[in-house]
């Protein structure tokens, strides 16, 4: 049981980034490809939102791409992921086609949740993406329960299933966080609580919301170890997550992983983030993991500039295709309105539309008023 700060993966270069030299190149290019896809997707989502193709709230992963891709790289297909409402990138990196994500944002029947969920509620049963959740902290007990189900059914081991639960920095102050981490600790559940610390909950900095701003230390109240990792370093994130997942799988030891990253834009598409100064915004731009990782790959000779640009273009095209797909897809039919409320049909479930009379059974009498 010990808390630790990991600024990088196995080894670190003098500028603080993970050393790429020992890494096989293909996965690295894959990470960049995913990061570029997320970047392009999110920028387009913002655009589609302002064009009113997307409704409701829309929260983006812009600036968090290294964290997203690093975490998803560590997750096995048999693992379960519970996300927050800021989850487009996670869905994409987990393997949900961009088409289906965009279609969900458009509210179309072909979307990941059939149009029922929207941006905040992406779900893919096959890929074990068990949902984005809009109630801050709401996913934490659910993820803990999923880990309970795993331990109920199977023994620990290297290939055992595990759960990853994403939590925003602001969400660590809510009661469900405390209750769930305590349960996971006393029940020895195979779960990794990932605190995606992007520095802000809406406009509130971590220092103003959390009396222990080193969030990876908050497991101390449950004797749960925590690790902090540079969320702009995709390999560091991947390795730290893999380590935490291993402990969850093999030893049923839950833990916290804090990834420190930054939100490049406002809380949601409509937030201009006026509470940030120009200096702060400039600083954030300079930390942007996308150009950083790109130039790292080029410096290491893994990509040349042309290849990198092609990846960027591919991403753009994939997103354009996703938009076209979403645009062309049908809305769910109104006949579907009452089809989702229950899994087990029972008598007398209401299926009245607004303004329809109540269903009070046949009026067989001949009496009138």
């Amino acid at each position: 049981m010990s808390d630790q700060v990991r600024t990088a993966g196995q080894t670190t270069t003098p500028d603080g980034h993970s050393d790429l030299s020992g890494e096989p190149p293909e996965p690295l290019v894959g990470y960049y490809r995913q990061m570029a896809l997320i970047r392009a997707f999110e920028l387009r989502a913002a655009e589609m939102y302002t064009k009113a193709k997307i409704g409701g709230y829309c929260h983006l992963n812009l600036g968090e791409e290294a964290t997203v891709v690093g975490l998803m790289a560590a997750l096995c297909p048999t693992d379960y992921l519970f996300a927050t409402y800021r989850e487009h990138g996670y869905a994409l990196a987990r393997g949900v086609p961009a088409e289906r994500v965009m279609a969900e944002l458009f509210g179309k029947a072909t979307g990941t949740s059939g149009g029922w969920g929207g941006s905040m509620h992406l779900f893919d049963a096959d890929l074990r993406l068990l949902g984005g959740y809009g109630i801050v902290g709401g996913q934490i007990p659910l993820a803990t329960g999923a880990a309970l189900a795993i331990s109920y059914r199977a023994e620990p081991g290297e290939r055992a299933e595990a759960v990853m639960c994403l939590i925003g920095d602001g969400a660590t102050n809510i009661g469900a966080f405390h209750e769930s981490l305590n349960l996971a600790a006393i029940w020895h559940l195979p779960i990794v609580y990932v605190i995606v610390n992007n520095g802000l909950g809406m406009g509130t900095p971590v220092s103003a919301s959390s009396a222990e701003p080193e969030l990876y230390r908050r497991g101390c109240a449950y004797r749960m170890p925590g690790t902090r990792v540079d969320g702009n370093d995709v390999l560091a994130v991947r390795d730290a997550a893999a380590g935490a997942l291993d402990r969850a799988r093999s030893e049923r030891r839950p833990s916290i992983l804090e990834a420190v990253c930054y939100r490049l834009r406002g809380h949601s598409v409509v937030d201009p983030a006026r509470y940030r100064t120009k200096e702060e915004t400039d600083r954030l731009r300079s930390l942007d993991p996308l150009p950083q990782f790109r130039s790292q790959l080029i410096t290491a000779g893994i990509l040349d500039g042309e290849e990198a640009s092609r990846i960027d273009t591919d991403a753009e095209q994939a997103v354009s295709a996703a938009v076209a797909f979403a645009e062309d897809s049908p809305f769910p039919g109104q006949d579907q309105l009452f089809a989702r409320t229950y899994a087990t049909p029972v008598p007398n479930t209401s299926t009245s539309l607004p303004g329809e009379p109540l269903d009070c059974g046949p009026d067989q009498s001949d009496r009138t008023g």
Binding site: G111, G117, H121, L148, G175, S180, R340, C360
Partner: protein, 330 residues
């Protein structure tokens, strides 16, 4: 057929369902070592062990949410919340998660979860421990809510709830645990969403559920001796609500009264009365009156508590007033 208490019927059903299906597990505060605050789970930890009978810390939101998550992976948790009052600490998980997950994710997730919890006043437990608040759950699409009145119904509805793939609240009642009734020895389930005619009658319909239904039946039997023929409808299920059964009865009797332990305004009775006046408007000879609790935080002191809660005398009085007003020939 065996005569069982409501408590024993619940206990035996839990045990039978656990024997039937390894996915069924129990979770809650003090259900294991302590054997349950109201002893519904007595002996089950000893029989099934801590894997199947999980004592939890005091964290309603956490363990109810964990049960929902476990249900999403296919377990069938049966959670005990010590009393319905404490369900308020878990209501975000129940309303915003258990009730939503199936629809909001386009049907990809199911939540085969049961929450058992007793409500009811009259035990001098004071304002925070004497509530019913069934209406909070009855109002919520995505949930199913049953409230058995008899040991036989407790068995049939709890078994149905455990086998149902949706989140079901089984509302028990502190005042019913020791009541007795005949229960068939064979396994069976009852339909969630169907009311029962507890007693046939001609002159007036009394609609109730849980403890209220038991009182209504007693009053009806007593009034029978006075020549008043009361039909008693036990709702059994608050969501879905069996509107056809309610209205069919009122179309026959032309008069209705709702009895409930809950506060009157925005209570269960409001929905029943609203339903009747729409579904049986042309048949009604008198307004549907509601016999319900006085609208105060329930006092501890016995005389005040008794004054605030509806009882058989209140129901009897309102039945007679309603019949008198419509010139029932006494």
């Amino acid at each position: 057929m065996t005569t069982l208490t409501y408590r024993q019927a619940l206990h035996d059903t839990l045990r039978a369902e656990m024997l039937r299906d390894d996915n069924v597990l129990l979770m809650g505060e003090e259900i294991g070592v302590f054997e349950g605050s109201y002893k519904i789970t007595a002996g089950l930890l000893a029989e099934f062990g801590p894997r199947r009978v999980k004592d939890t810390p005091i964290c309603e939101e956490g363990f109810v949410g964990a049960a929902i998550g476990a249900a999403m992976l296919g377990l069938r948790p049966v959670v005990e919340i010590m009393t319905i009052n404490f369900s308020l600490l878990a209501i975000d998980q129940i309303v915003n998660h258990a009730a939503k997950v199936h629809a909001m994710f386009g049907g990809q997730a199911t939540v085969p979860l049961v929450i058992r919890t007793p409500g009811g006043g009259g035990q001098q437990l004071a304002a925070t421990h004497s509530q019913n608040i069934e209406v909070y759950y009855a109002h919520m699409p995505g949930l199913k809510v049953v409230a058995p009145a008899t040991p036989a119904d407790a068995k049939g509805l709890l078994a149905a709830a455990i086998r149902d793939d949706d989140p079901v609240l089984v509302l028990e009642n502190l005042a019913l645990y020791n009541t007795k009734g005949d229960v068939s020895d064979d396994p069976y389930t009852l339909d969630i969403g169907r009311a029962a005619v507890m007693k046939q009658g001609r002159d007036i319909t009394v609609i109730s559920y849980s403890r209220g239904a038991v009182i209504a039946l007693q009053v009806a039997r007593r009034l029978e001796e006075e020549g008043i023929s009361v039909e008693v409808i036990d709702l059994r299920s608050l969501r879905p609500l069996d509107r056809p059964a309610i209205c069919a009865s009122v179309r026959k009797t032309s008069r209705a009264i709702v009895l409930e332990d809950d506060w009157l305004s925005y209570g269960v009775g409001a929905e029943v009365a609203a339903t009747i006046q729409e579904g049986a408007f042309d048949y009604l000879d008198a307004p549907v009156r509601r016999v319900a609790a006085a609208e105060v935080p329930l006092p501890y002191s016995k005389p005040l508590e008794s004054a605030a809660l509806p009882d058989a005398a209140d129901l009897t009085k309102v039945i007679k007033e309603t019949l008198d007003a419509t010139r029932y020939p006494a």
